[in-house]
């Protein structure tokens, strides 16, 4: 009976995490639409989604703590719950950054872009792919997919450097465009950070599946 309840709660934790992932994905998608199409409505919906993400984080956190205290899980279950606790923090950060991008997008929507956005949409696409990939890896318990996400971070990092150089060129050509360039640089930085968070999520997925987590210095600790 007790065990049954525990399983139901674990199942619930799983689906809530998936739901939170879906919210985060929607938030980034909306933010990207808002940015590329200069659509203020999309930006507002992204900000609203971020609030939902925050609520969801609280909810999942409560569920995790309840599970830890009441059921005292061990081994695999314990890994899942502790990984969940870490993952929601990263997802919440991604939500925040989507909202930040949206705020800049609202600001940028009033004037046309100096140059058609090219690299930033590509960067957005890559980061969305990473976030979706990390959540997919969790849903499907797919170790390979998680590792792909971890590797994909380099692409986003390279794209960030390209964006940065392009923006420097833009300022060089006309210093009056500096304001927009700064905003776009922030946006690019946010995308780069979202990529990092996606990597974190993927690492926690790896941890929940194998019990191994990549440490800061790259060494592998077995728990």
């Amino acid at each position: 009976m007790m065990r049954n309840r525990f399983d139901t709660q674990l199942d619930q934790l799983n689906t809530e995490l998936i739901h939170m992932g879906a919210l985060v994905e929607d938030a980034i998608n909306s933010a990207v639409c808002a940015l590329c199409q200069q659509d203020k409505e999309q930006a507002k919906s992204a900000i609203k989604l971020d609030q939902l993400v925050d609520l969801k984080e609280k909810e999942i956190e409560d569920l995790c703590l309840k599970l830890l205290l009441q059921q005292q899980p061990v081994a695999r279950d314990l890994r899942l719950i502790s990984a969940a606790l870490k993952m929601i923090t990263d997802m919440e950060r991604i939500g925040d950054q989507a909202a930040d991008i949206s705020e800049i997008a609202i600001f940028l929507a009033d004037e046309p872009y100096v140059k058609k956005l090219e690299i930033i949409p590509k960067m957005a696409e890559e980061t969305i792919k990473m976030v979706s990939g990390s959540i997919d890896a969790f849903v499907k318990k797919d170790l390979d997919l998680a590792r792909q996400v971890i590797d994909a971070d380099d692409i986003v990092d390279d794209l960030f450097v390209t964006v940065k150089n392009n923006l420097i060129d833009m300022i060089h050509k006309n210093p009056l465009h500096g304001g927009q360039a700064m905003d776009l640089l922030m946006v690019a930085k946010y995308f780069e950070r979202i990529g990092d968070h996606a990597v974190n999520i993927a690492e926690w997925v790896v941890f929940s599946l194998t019990g191994e987590h990549k440490d800061i210095d790259g060494s592998v600790d077995q728990i």
């Binding site: 998936i18 879906a22 919210l23 929607d26």
Partner: protein, 560 residues
């Protein structure tokens, strides 16, 4: 059952064993007691005979000989004259000892009692002698018990042995009885040869077995039908249970939801697809509300219908039906765009016409220019008529309601006649036209082919350079007959090539008015080609010219 059989068998043998041992012991005891009495009587006779021979001295002589029995001689007045076990001096008068008293009166007496002198249970036999004295011989009854106990040890040992044997036998027998029952093959109950008593049961099982098998087969059949139906369904079908776990999902649903391969039965629906619209629809359905929404997955749109399954007034599951509406939405969008475009295309010349007419009406046009104005009105009106004709043609082609029957058409001849019709226009634009090829018969509607050729050649002339050329060629290829209209014109930029067959699509919006045309030409070409099941290939290089190849399937021979 095994245990029960074993227990009852063991109990039975133990009870028998103990009862027989107990009865045997009683009998044995009796036997031993009788033996002892007889022996004592014999002994008494010997001692009596000895006494008659040797008097009391004889008795003294055998005092130490017999350790088993006690011999006492009592005088007529009861005083003890001799005893081989006790000191005569300490013994009291024995006259009132029951056996002695009896012997005095009856001549012989016997009792079993506790000896006052020696203190153990004794069997006494007293005989009155000829001289009036009484000779008493006695033996301890302990000797019987002793004999019994000494043999008792053996008996107990045998008993233990027997018990062990009984246990072993019981176990063996139990196994032997139970074995055939255990070996019954329940899959084929009638093939077994066991106890007759079990036969009715086996027959019953056999019947049940048959009916269960039948039902299973029916069920499997039905399941197969169901999965065949769902698997061949184009619509996605997902069935969820009351907590949102997948019961079944057909392949279309997995494709639509981009879930990838895998077994989703028993897993939460959000592992298939985590889109929020799906989740909202399922959550509403779990609360008992059906809903219909459009959701997107990948780059396709689906109409999602979520219906709760209720049993006894409670939601026991959800059925999700997914319909791919991408094409529908696309064509709807196209139709909407078309309507908007047509209205726009109609409005522009009409505004001009109404402007010129207004000027004429208000007599604001000098007399000599009136004809010119009327000419412009006529021009715009002709354009309008051409546009409306094109739209009508297009909608006819859309509906595929062209009533004309198919005839044999020689493409080469048709091309020549079109060239003749467009010759003056070509000359005006200073463009050379050539027709070339081996000719080929196709089965088609003649005036549609003519229209197709005119549209293609007209475009070739219109979007050409000064002194360019339009070359028409007809050739046979393995897949049919190919018509190629190539010009040396301005060409179509790569990014537009995909869209130029769309209605009202123009490569250069500002340029279009100069060259004229309705913007529907290529769209009509596309439709005519589709009507004849022909394929269109476009190759174009910006600034170098465009070549459009239309490949018609080979005419069906029956008409020849």
């Amino acid at each position: 059952m095994k245990r029960k059989i074993f227990r009852s068998m063991l109990l039975l043998s133990l009870v028998t064993l103990f009862l027989s041992v107990a009865l045997l012991s009683i009998v044995l005891y009796q036997q031993l007691a009788d033996d002892m009495k007889r022996e004592l009587r014999n002994q008494a006779a010997y001692v009596t005979a000895g006494y008659y021979e040797g008097d009391i001295e004889y008795l003294e002589a055998i005092r130490g000989a017999d350790r088993e029995s006690r011999i006492t001689l009592v005088d007529r007045d009861g005083t003890v004259l001799f005893d081989n076990r006790a000191d005569v001096a300490t013994m009291d008068n024995h006259r009132d000892r029951p056996e002695i008293a009896e012997a005095f009166s009856e001549g012989e007496g016997e009792t079993i009692r506790q000896s006052d002198t020696v203190g153990t249970q004794y069997y006494y036999l007293a005989t009155r002698l000829v001289d009036g004295r009484v000779l008493r011989v006695s033996s301890s009854s302990d000797s019987v018990t002793d004999a019994l106990t000494s043999s008792g040890v053996v008996i107990v040992m045998i008993l233990i042995l027997m018990i062990c044997l009984a246990i072993l036998l019981a176990r063996f027998e139990t196994r032997r009885i139970v074995k055939p029952i255990n070996q019954i093959d329940l899959e084929k109950p009638m093939k077994n040869k066991v106890y007759d008593e079990l036969a009715p049961l086996l027959i019953r099982i056999h019947r049940l077995h048959d009916s269960v098998e039948e039902q299973m087969q029916e069920l499997a059949e039905r399941n197969k039908h169901f999965s065949e139906i769902t698997e061949s369904m184009e619509e996605g079908l997902v069935i969820l249970d009351e907590i949102g776990h997948v019961v079944s999902a057909n392949p279309s649903a997995l494709t639509f939801l981009e879930s990838g391969d895998g077994e989703y039965a028993g897993r939460h629906f959000s592992t298939m697809n985590r889109s929020l619209s799906l989740r909202n629809a399922v959550e509403a359905a779990l609360l008992g509300n059906s809903s219909e929404t459009v959701m997107t997955a990948g780059n396709r749109s689906f109409q999602l219908r979520a219906n709760p399954v209720t049993r006894h007034g409670e939601v026991s599951g959800v059925i999700l039906l997914l319909l791919d509406v991408t094409e529908k939405q696309k064509s709807e969008l196209q139709r909407r765009e078309f309507t908007a475009n047509v209205s726009h295309e109609l409005k522009t010349p009409l505004t001009a016409i109404s402007g010129y007419a207004e000027l004429l009406k208000n007599r604001m046009v000098p007399g000599d220019e009136a004809a010119d104005f009327a000419g412009r009105i006529f021009e715009e009106a002709s354009g309008l008529i051409a546009l409306v004709e094109d739209v009508i043609r297009l909608s006819q082609l859309d509906e595929r309601s062209v009533p004309e029957p198919l005839e044999e058409v020689d493409l080469l001849m048709a091309a020549r006649s079109v060239m003749a019709r467009l010759a003056s226009k070509a000359k005006q634009a200073n463009i050379e036209m050539t027709v070339d090829g081996s000719g080929g018969l196709i089965l088609a509607v003649p005036h549609l082919i003519e229209e197709l050729l005119i549209n293609l050649c007209d475009n070739g002339i219109k979007y050409n350079k000064e002194g360019g050329s339009v070359d028409i060629s007809v050739e046979q290829v393995p897949t049919g007959i190919r018509l190629i209209v190539a010009d040396t014109g301005i060409g179509i930029p790569a990014e537009h090539q995909e869209r130029i067959f769309e209605r009202f699509y123009r490569v250069d919006q500002s340029h279009s008015k100069e060259t004229g045309g309705t913007g529907l030409g290529l769209s009509i070409v596309k439709h005519i080609a589709a009507y004849h099941k022909a394929t269109i290939e476009l190759t174009s290089l910006e600034g170098q010219g465009t070549s459009i190849a239309v490949t018609f399937p080979i005419a069906i021979k029956k008409s020849l």
